[in-house]
Structures are given as C-alpha cells and as structure tokens.
Subunit: 153 residues, 2 copies
Amino acid sequence: MTGSAGAADEQGREDAVATIQRELTAFARRARAAAARMHPELSLVSFTLLAHLEDQGGCRATDLAAYYLLDKSTVSRQVAALERAGHVERRTDPDDHRMQLLHLTEQGEQVLAQAADRRSQAFHARLADWEPAELDRFAAYLTRYNDEADSPA
Amino acid sequence: MTGSAGAADEQGREDAVATIQRELTAFARRARAAAARMHPELSLVSFTLLAHLEDQGGCRATDLAAYYLLDKSTVSRQVAALERAGHVERRTDPDDHRMQLLHLTEQGEQVLAQAADRRSQAFHARLADWEPAELDRFAAYLTRYNDEADSPA
DNA sequence: TTCGATGGATGTACTCTACAACTACTTATT
DNA sequence: AATAAGTAGTTGTAGAGTACATCCATCGAA
C-alpha cells in the first residue's frame, strides 16, 4: 500500500510543480509589458536598477551587473540612458579613478517614487481580497523559491 | 485597541505585498536568460508557443496572439521562424483560405519534449525539498494571483 | 616599471516586440 | 450581384534589451 501511496504523492508533486512552472512562466512573459503599462516612463529594467540604487544609497555599475546577473555592457548602456534622462549622476571615486559611484538625482528619486507607487498600487489591487495570512505565506514561498540555489529562473 | 491592531495588520499586508512584488519582479527579470541556459535551442517565447500548440492540438496564429497578448506580427514572425526550423507546419483551412492551422511536426514535438523535460527537471530540482502540501499551496497561490482580474503583470 | 587585473565604454549583432500599412480572403449590406 | 466592412496573416520599420568581444584607463603587485 505504501507503494501506491508513494505513487500518488509523486503524481501530486508532479502536478504541483507543473502548475508552479506554468504560472511563473506566464507571469514572466507578461511582466515587461505590464511594467510598460504601469509606468511607461520607466522600463522594468530601469526601474529595477534605480530601485537598487536607492536601496543601496548608490553603488557602482559593476555592482548592479553582479546583483542582477547582467553583462557590464548592458548596465553601462542602461546607466548611460538613465544619466541622459537625468535620473542618475556619476561621481568618479577620488581614490580610484576607475570607478564611478552612481547615485539618484532628485529627479530620479521622484520618478522612481512615482513608478514604485503605481507599481505598488497595482500589486495591492491585485491582492486586495487576499487574507493577511495568505499574503504572508505567498510572500514566504516566493522568497524561498527565489533563494533556492541557482536558477531554473 | 482595534485601531492599533488594524494598523499592525495594514503594516503586515504592506510588507507582504512588497515582498511579493519584489520576488515576482526578480523572477521575471531572470526568466528569459534562465530559459536560454536551460534550452538554448528554444527561446522562452518559442517554447511557450509550441507548448500551446501541443496543448491545443494545433491552432491559428491569431489564437496564439490572443492567448499570449502578443501582436499578430510578433506571432507571425515567431511562427515563421518555427516553421523555418522545422518545428511547426501550416495547413491552410480548406473552408476559409484566410486561416492557417498550425501544428507541431514530429521534430517539433521532440524538441518541445526535450526542452520541457529540461525545464521541468530544473523546476523539480529547485523545489526538491518542499513538502507536497507546500507545493500545492504555492501552486494554488500562483494560479490565484495570475487569475485575478487584469494584471499588474 | 612593467604586467596582470579591474571598471567601464564601444562596436556589433541578435531577439523580442509593437505599430502601421498592405494583401488576400470572407461576410454582410445594399 | 456589387460593394463595403471585417478578419487572417505578412512585411516595413523601429526601438528596447541583451550578450560577447574588444578596447581604454587606471590600479596594484611582482
């Protein structure tokens, strides 16, 4: 009997993992376009980079690349665009002229705050009728999933 | 006292939603690159389209576009590439010469199966030490999130 | 002082995507 | 039947995001 119970367990696990895979994939597919709808002035990537800058109180391009697993050339161009847009400023490290410390401008903070706000509102709306306990569990599961060793995604 | 309890609840909800937002966003940011690592021969979008074709036993390009919220030109090019790669075949509907029914080729099925397998393995590995009950709840939460009316993301 | 390492920028190229304009075909209206 | 309106799909164009390879400037160590 343990045999068939084990088989049932395995089937349940199989189904659950398949669902998780499908739903996470579906979410990922829509994320960019959704960000564009929510805050057209700040792409998902830009938003993410600015958020990290705010979070860290400034950092180097290399740090952004490492944190987000992006190529340094990608970050370089993103940062250049953000600077052009007036959202970030670069300050060359006086002790090491190779590095530039990036930090948000006043305007960058405002734009970020506004985008973060719209983004947050959208998530709140989406989760409006969830119980607090459910939200906590969902948050914990997502965190746990993302923290598992590297990376189906 | 209900006042401060309510405030605490609100704070908890705020935190949980912020975490959900952060973790889902982080996942979305990595999904494409992760797919490329898992199955370089089939991009995330290609994989998704093929999977839907398999699922539906064939459908039209327009159906794919509607289902995945993609522009028809995007789908048209994707399908063209998949056809060039020998993964799908088109058959013009004899009753309505505007439409083409798309279906997987033998080879398309194989490639899809292989990619799905690697993908699935990666998710299983990532979720290996989760309890069955946890998997079920996580799957249910994700499904519920994605099914909520339209769409932070 | 010279050489390897590090931070960053640039050249190039590819994918994904959208919008607009177009063709071919079908259905509805007159 | 003729014409208008709608639908399926393709193509021109353009822009974002990304990576890899290469290059430059600077730093630290042999």
